[in-house]
């Protein structure tokens, strides 16, 4: 995705989605190491089953990380993601293919911010993670 311009983002607009490659177990091991979240429900099937899960589940923060990737791509080098807020509603498992979606809900000319409604889905219309983001465009000149 190309970085979007402040001018072209319109309230109500749906942004082109980001489809991530299928989650792999090795990705969960890498994310555990890189993030410092060593909860074994994300990397060890035996521990996951012991606490009643069907097997390892992805870190919620990995899905939030995808939304961070997606929203940061929108602003590119022209600004930054100043707020991300999500609720984790459903489990993500190895093999799942996730799609990030966003819709513009507000624009503030003075602050040069864009508010977005964001979600991560496996099946269309069923958000596994959802929330809000604000991207801040830097003022030029």
């Amino acid at each position: 995705m190309q970085a979007l311009n402040w001018e072209e983002l319109q309230v109500g607009q749906e942004v082109e989605p980001l489809v991530k490659p299928a989650i792999e177990k090795v990705q969960l091991v890498k994310y555990a190491g890189a993030s410092g979240d060593f909860n074994l429900i994300h990397t060890d099937d035996e521990t996951a089953r012991k606490v009643g899960l069907p097997g390892v589940i992805a870190h919620g923060m990995l899905s939030m990380g995808f939304l961070g990737q997606y929203t940061a791509q929108m602003v590119g080098p022209n600004g930054f993601v100043s707020r991300l807020q999500v609720r984790f509603a459903g489990m993500v498992r190895p093999g799942d293919v996730l799609t990030c979606r966003a819709k513009v809900t507000g624009k503030n000319d003075e602050a040069r911010t864009v508010d977005l409604e964001i979600s991560v889905e496996k099946e269309e219309g069923k958000a596994l993670t959802y929330g809000e983001a604000t991207i801040t465009f830097l003022k030029r000149g």
């Binding site: 890498k30 994310y31 606490v51 919620g60 923060m61 961070g68 990737q69 993601v81 807020q85 984790f88």
Partner: protein, 141 residues
């Protein structure tokens, strides 16, 4: 309840974290995020940053445990998460981070009684300027 409400208001010792380029790259790579701001220092410099930029959810790596709050890690699910930043975090930043328990409460869920723990983290530079805030809700079952 799995956590006593007496921990509300308790705080961690502040911890000083140095933001490292390798940690940024490893974190972005685990997410599968190839944004050049996180990988290519020259590119980041060309866009006005002192060094590599950290992805929006990078503060999750800056762990500040609160010794007063104890629970079994494998019983934890992530409920909600928010990050807000005043400016992007950049490699070379030195941030003083501290966490504080905001709330503890119980709800009945599909899986029985669940305890919710709400924690806030604040990261400041060494001059005391706020750089990021995080708010997390974790669920113990």
């Amino acid at each position: 309840m799995l956590i006593d409400r007496s921990v509300i208001g308790s705080a961690s010792e502040p911890q000083v974290h140095e933001i490292e380029k390798g940690a940024i790259r490893a974190f972005a790579q685990a997410i599968g995020d190839d944004n050049p701001l996180y990988h290519d220092e020259e590119y980041a410099r060309q866009h006005g940053y002192a060094s590599l930029v950290a992805p929006p959810t990078f503060p999750t790596t800056l762990r500040v445990p609160n010794p007063q709050v104890k629970f079994e890690l494998s019983r934890v699910l992530h409920g909600e998460q928010e990050y807000a930043c005043e400016r992007p975090i950049v490699a070379g930043d030195v941030l003083r981070c501290a966490s504080k328990v905001i709330d503890v409460y119980e709800r009945q869920g599909k899986l029985g009684a669940m305890t919710f723990l709400v924690t806030e983290v604040r990261g400041e530079d060494l001059d005391g300027r706020l750089v990021f805030r995080g708010k997390s809700t974790i669920i113990l079952r």
